[in-house]
């Protein structure tokens, strides 16, 4: 039976805090952790499948034009080659997150260098890879096209535009004003597991093991791409080796493997090479951002301007939502927020962890540091003076707001010195040492979700949903919610995720996974509790379940008497989404050292304090924050996609040349989880957490670089070359 709950009101009455099991929020290790570290958790490409052929994508070596002919004769004569799949249904780009339909197909029209255009299938991977390289493709090249945003006129994204009051006048009248322009470079998700799919077709049903984040959307995208009904498709993603947005929508290997398996009547596996993942999967757009901040003599903002230029391919709706948190983080009655999109021929731009705030917040928070310096106000204090009591543009109340607590508790735990902030004051040998801080903000999302919970007659429970765990801890937090609600130890609960034969979950993305699927599981568990209470002739609110027993009396096994109770929870966020402004908040504090001679920057220590509603698992929540802070370090210091200025092809296409932080770059990190309940965020009072940890962190490092050595830098990443160029003599 399905129980539907649409949440129109804040969930002020919540069972999770009054249950007896005491497992919710606890720092449980991941239940699938042992399988992962012992190599027994199968990822998409690792399933053993008899007679499986191997496919390798052929990619375009022009930027814009048309494939005239694919010469397959040579390849077909090579040993082991089974087929070259050329099909107008092959997709030419990955699908954007939540697209729910096929992305652009017709791969013979080339829109970016590295676009997949065909698939070579062979008996072995090595044969296919070699054959894919030997295929000669004849193109009609359209010649020079725009590959950098500066080459084209950008389109204003009018839905994003806010113009209120008179910002120019506010800037002119301000006691203190900042007008600064920042740039950020493109980023890659750089997930450890490359994109991979293995497809099997039995004449009726297509079964695809794939590495995907949102099966509920992906199944429709795949069905639309190949032209069969979603009911004839089964997608399986039990384990995903990192997604970070790059696996939100289906990408080329999923469709290619599926079409090949259907055409050849045998299983086909397609694994993208690291280079193909880099040059064919979503990039985060580079940005240029102008920040204008006007403040009165107390440092209170009277004007707020944030303009951003981002890019994407023609035909893509996604524009990196740089201004997302700028709309509500700080007040200022004179506002001007404008987002512009330039159409250029680099690969598809889409979601990379924390789309929007990941790059918007580091620019905004670096500008706030300049304002603090100009106004002579401690940077923590400046932010405390600029916390709005309601959403400054929409006028909505905040569902909850922990920025002040994060700033205060973070500053205290870090040992923030509220005294003078003069730069270049502390030197140890070759190293300038300094501190910096920044606010964190990331909009909260919550989505419709379904999950089936079955309390089995033997006193165990099974949870089934097509929700994924992309390394975030979904398996574990789902078990904790069920355990808490039904009085079961987590080891008595089987969480079965990542299979579209199960009820539709929300998918993992936009940090909404845990709050959304958790709410659906909660709804199902409440329904089961009602049934149990009815059997006991008591009220659900009086039902005390722990360690497999009801109260001090019967065991659940006795109570169930041989039958299972299965309930599907269907959670839908209703008016709470319209009636409240919801966001996670936080604060970052960093101490860095900058080498006087070489401009190298190393992070000494870093602390993040975050408030994001209920903490479902203190360990996996903390891990998400640690990962986010690590991404902040990468964004601040090293990560940048580098494109050839002539044809727009990506040059740094592997993990040796695209520099994510290594262990040595990441010092001891400190995370403070500021526990709160946000009843309007979701039914279980939890908010998103996966992305907040990187939304502003890079600015705390930028501000610390300035404090250390006096180099005010406006371009991320802050490489030795940029530090030296900006460092005073």
């Amino acid at each position: 039976m399905t129980v539907h709950f649409k949440q129109d009101q804040p969930a002020t009455d919540n069972r999770l805090d009054t249950m007896a099991q005491g497992v919710i929020g606890k720092p449980l290790p991941r239940i699938e952790g042992l399988a992962k570290v012992t190599g027994t958790a199968p990822y998409a490409a690792e399933y053993v499948c008899e007679n499986c052929a191997e496919g390798v994508l052929v990619t375009a070596t022009i930027t814009r034009g048309t494939v005239v002919r694919v010469d397959i004769d040579g390849a077909m004569r090579m040993p082991g080659v089974v087929a070259v799949i050329e099909d107008d249904r092959l997709i030419a780009r990955p699908a954007q997150g939540t697209a729910n339909e096929a992305p652009k197909q017709q791969p013979r029209t080339v829109c970016y260098w590295g676009q997949p255009i065909a698939l070579v299938v062979a008996e072995t991977f090595e044969q296919a890879r070699d054959a894919a390289r030997r295929i000669a493709v004849e193109y009609r090249d359209d010649g020079d096209v725009a590959v950098t945003p500066a080459e084209v006129a950008a389109e204003e994204q009018e839905d994003e535009t806010v113009r209120e009051g008179n910002l120019d006048k506010a800037m002119a009248d301000a006691a203190f004003a900042v007008d600064a322009t920042y740039t950020t470079q493109g980023h890659a998700s750089a997930a450890m597991e490359p994109h991979a799919a293995m497809a099997q077709w039995d004449g009726r049903t297509l079964t695809v093991h794939a590495s995907l984040q949102m099966l509920n959307y992906n199944i429709c995208e795949l069905a639309d791409a190949i032209g069969i009904g979603a009911e004839n498709i089964r997608l399986i993603s039990r384990f995903v080796g990192g997604g970070f947005g790059s696996k939100l929508g289906i990408s080329e290997e999923v469709v290619a493997a599926s079409l090949a398996a259907m055409q050849l009547q045998r299983p086909v596996r397609v694994v993208m090479s690291r280079q193909q993942v880099f040059q064919g999967i979503m990039r985060r757009s580079e940005t240029t951002q102008r920040l204008r901040l006007a403040a009165n003599s107390d440092g209170a903002l009277t004007g707020f301007g944030h303009e951003a230029l981002v890019s994407n391919l023609p035909g893509e709706e996604f524009a990196e939502p740089v201004l997302q948190s700028s709309h509500f983080l700080y007040p200022g009655e004179n506002r001007e927020l404008v987002l512009k999109l330039a159409r250029i021929h680099r690969m598809t731009a889409g979601s990379v962890r924390a789309p929007g705030e990941a790059v918007g917040m580091p620019a905004l928070e670096a500008a706030m540091d300049i304002l603090a310096e100009k106004a002579g106000i401690d940077p923590v204090e400046l932010r405390l003076r600029n916390i709005p009591d309601k959403d400054p543009e929409r006028g909505l109340p905040f569902s909850s707001h922990k920025l002040a607590e994060c700033l205060r508790q973070g500053a205290e735990a870090f040992g923030w010195d509220h005294g003078s902030r003069l730069a270049r004051q502390r030197r140890e040998g070759e190293w300038w040492i300094g501190t910096g801080m920044a606010s964190a903000a990331r909009v909260h999302n919550v989505a419709e979700a379904k999950a089936r919970v079955t309390l089995k007659a033997d006193g165990t429970a099974v949870v089934e949903t097509d929700m994924t765990d992309i390394g975030t801890g979904t398996y574990t937090v789902v078990a904790q919610i069920v355990g808490e609600m039904l009085g079961l130890r987590p080891e008595r609960i089987l969480v079965d995720l990542g299979d579209t034969r199960h009820p539709r979950g929300p998918g993992s993305g936009g940090s909404w996974g845990a709050a959304s699927i958790g709410s659906a599981v909660y709804v199902a568990c409440m329904a089961i509790r009602e049934k149990l209470a009815a059997q006991l002739g008591t009220d659900e609110s009086q039902l005390r379940l722990s360690d497999g027993k009801a109260g001090d009396g019967q065991t659940l096994v006795e109570l169930l008497d041989g039958s299972d109770i299965a309930q599907t929870g269907h959670y839908e966020p209703g008016r709470i989404k319209d009636d409240f402004a919801a966001s996670g908040f936080g604060a970052f504090f960093a101490q860095v050292r900058v080498n006087h001679y070489t401009g190298e920057t190393r992070v000494d220590r870093m602390l993040g304090a975050f408030g994001f509603g209920r903490v479902l698992n203190a360990k996996t929540a903390r891990s998400q924050c640690l990962g986010g802070i690590t991404w902040s370090i990468g964004m601040a210091l090293t990560e940048a996609l580098e494109f050839d200025p002539r044809d727009g092809h990506l040059v740094n296409r592997d993990l040796a040349e695209y520099h994510v932080p290594v262990h040595r770059d990441v010092p001891d990190l400190d995370v403070i989880l500021i526990e709160e309940r946000d009843p309007a965020a979701s039914f279980i009072q939890a908010k998103g957490i996966g992305e907040l940890g990187m939304c502003g962190g890079a600015a705390s490092i930028a501000n610390a670089i300035y404090n250390a050595c006096g180099a005010r830098i406006f371009d991320y990443p802050m490489t030795p070359a940029r530090v030296l160029a900006a460092m005073p003599d």
Binding site: T61, P79, E126, R129, D130, R133, Q275, G429, E430, N595, Y597, T598, G599, E600, R602, L637, T638, E642, F643, D644, P645, R646, H649, V651, N652, R653, A656, E657, H659, P661, V662, H663, R664, D665, P717, T719, P720, A721, L724, A725
Partner: protein, 328 residues
């Protein structure tokens, strides 16, 4: 990767014979070659595996130096007691490169032959005179922040990417090379790598059919040994600029100054004029500025790598600061 034949060589002469054939290559640790084969940057028809021919030993030489077998791994060299005691600049340089896993596989001879990291060299869809003579240089006018500011040519602006050889150049080590007929020759590390000129496909002076047997370090040099590697990421990153230095100061004057530079050129850069300038003078900022003037006299940026020119100067000053601190 293309299909290839595989043979195991049983001796250096055997290996040398096998690689006389065109399209034959030696493989030792494979940490560079296998990656390049997967990308089809290298497409040998025959791989001659020299992993079992011996030559992995590190032994004292008669003149008090050290002979490092070509197949000694980076890890074995870096942790060798005599290397640590007498040639710390070499240990530090090796440990500044790659990762522990790679160093466990990478060999001394293979590391000398490591190929450039130029983005256009490692992508066979791009022009590259080093990979495909006559196809042009994609890096000129492209993304070239890693590229050479010294000794480049119109045909190639790639850099030699390694660290180990930079330290060996400062130590004035020699490469011992064997041929199929059992003959040996020795070449200073400083002359082993070439400038690109109009034959950029030749990284070094090895001829077909020649095999590196060992690297011989001279007797230990008096003085401080310093290796500085400037990089954006603090590990697993190639040098923007690196400096290996052996510098001795007595009675306030420099008595030895052997410096070699990485990240600047198609080879570990060594300029004998720098030693001549420094020896006999008291270390000072002004003196090191003059050394930098000499070093960078002909330096030329390509756009993205312009920063390397001031960075090399500053890195030299950082070495000076270390010398002053240790001398004090």
């Amino acid at each position: 990767m293309r299909a290839f034949d595989y043979r195991r060589a049983h001796s250096p002469e055997d290996a040398a014979r096998l690689t006389q054939a065109p399209e034959a290559m030696l493989i030792a640790g494979g940490t560079n070659l296998l990656d390049l084969m997967k990308l089809q940057v290298e497409t040998p028809e025959l791989l001659a595996d020299i992993g079992r021919i011996g030559f992995a030993e590190i032994i004292d030489t008669d003149d008090g130096g050290l002979s490092i077998g070509a197949l000694a791994t980076n890890t074995a060299v870096a942790i060798h007691p005599r290397v640590r005691r007498d040639y710390p600049v070499l240990a530090r340089a090796i440990l500044a490169g790659a990762t522990q896993q790679l160093r466990n596989r990478a060999t001394t001879g293979g590391n000398l032959c490591q190929r450039t990291r130029c983005f256009y060299f490692t992508d066979i869809d791009q022009p590259c005179n080093k990979r495909e003579p006559g196809s042009g240089c994609g890096a000129i006018g492209g993304v070239n922040k890693l590229h050479a500011v010294l000794g480049a040519s119109d045909h190639c602006i790639a850099t030699y990417p390694g660290d180990m050889a930079v330290a060996m150049a400062a130590l004035d080590a020699r490469v011992i090379i064997g041929a199929a007929d059992g003959q040996q020759r020795s070449v200073p590390v400083r002359d082993f790598h070439r400038l690109p000129g109009d034959t950029p496909w030749r990284d070094n002076v090895l001829d077909p059919g020649e095999v590196i047997l060992a690297v011989e370090l001279p007797a230990p040099l008096e003085g401080m040994q310093i290796y500085r590697k400037v990089r954006e990421r603090s590990s697993y990153a190639f040098a923007l600029v690196s400096i290996a230095a052996v510098i001795a100061v007595e009675n306030g004057a420099i008595t030895r100054a052997e410096l070699a530079f990485g990240g600047l050129a198609h080879k570990p850069w060594h300029d004998p004029r720098i030693s001549e300038l420094l020896v006999g003078s008291a270390p000072s900022a002004e003196l090191f500025d003059r050394a930098a003037d000499l070093l960078l006299e002909s330096a030329e940026g390509q756009g993205d790598n312009d920063f390397k020119i001031p960075l090399a100067r500053r890195a030299l000053h950082a070495v000076l600061a270390q010398v002053m601190e240790q001398a004090a």
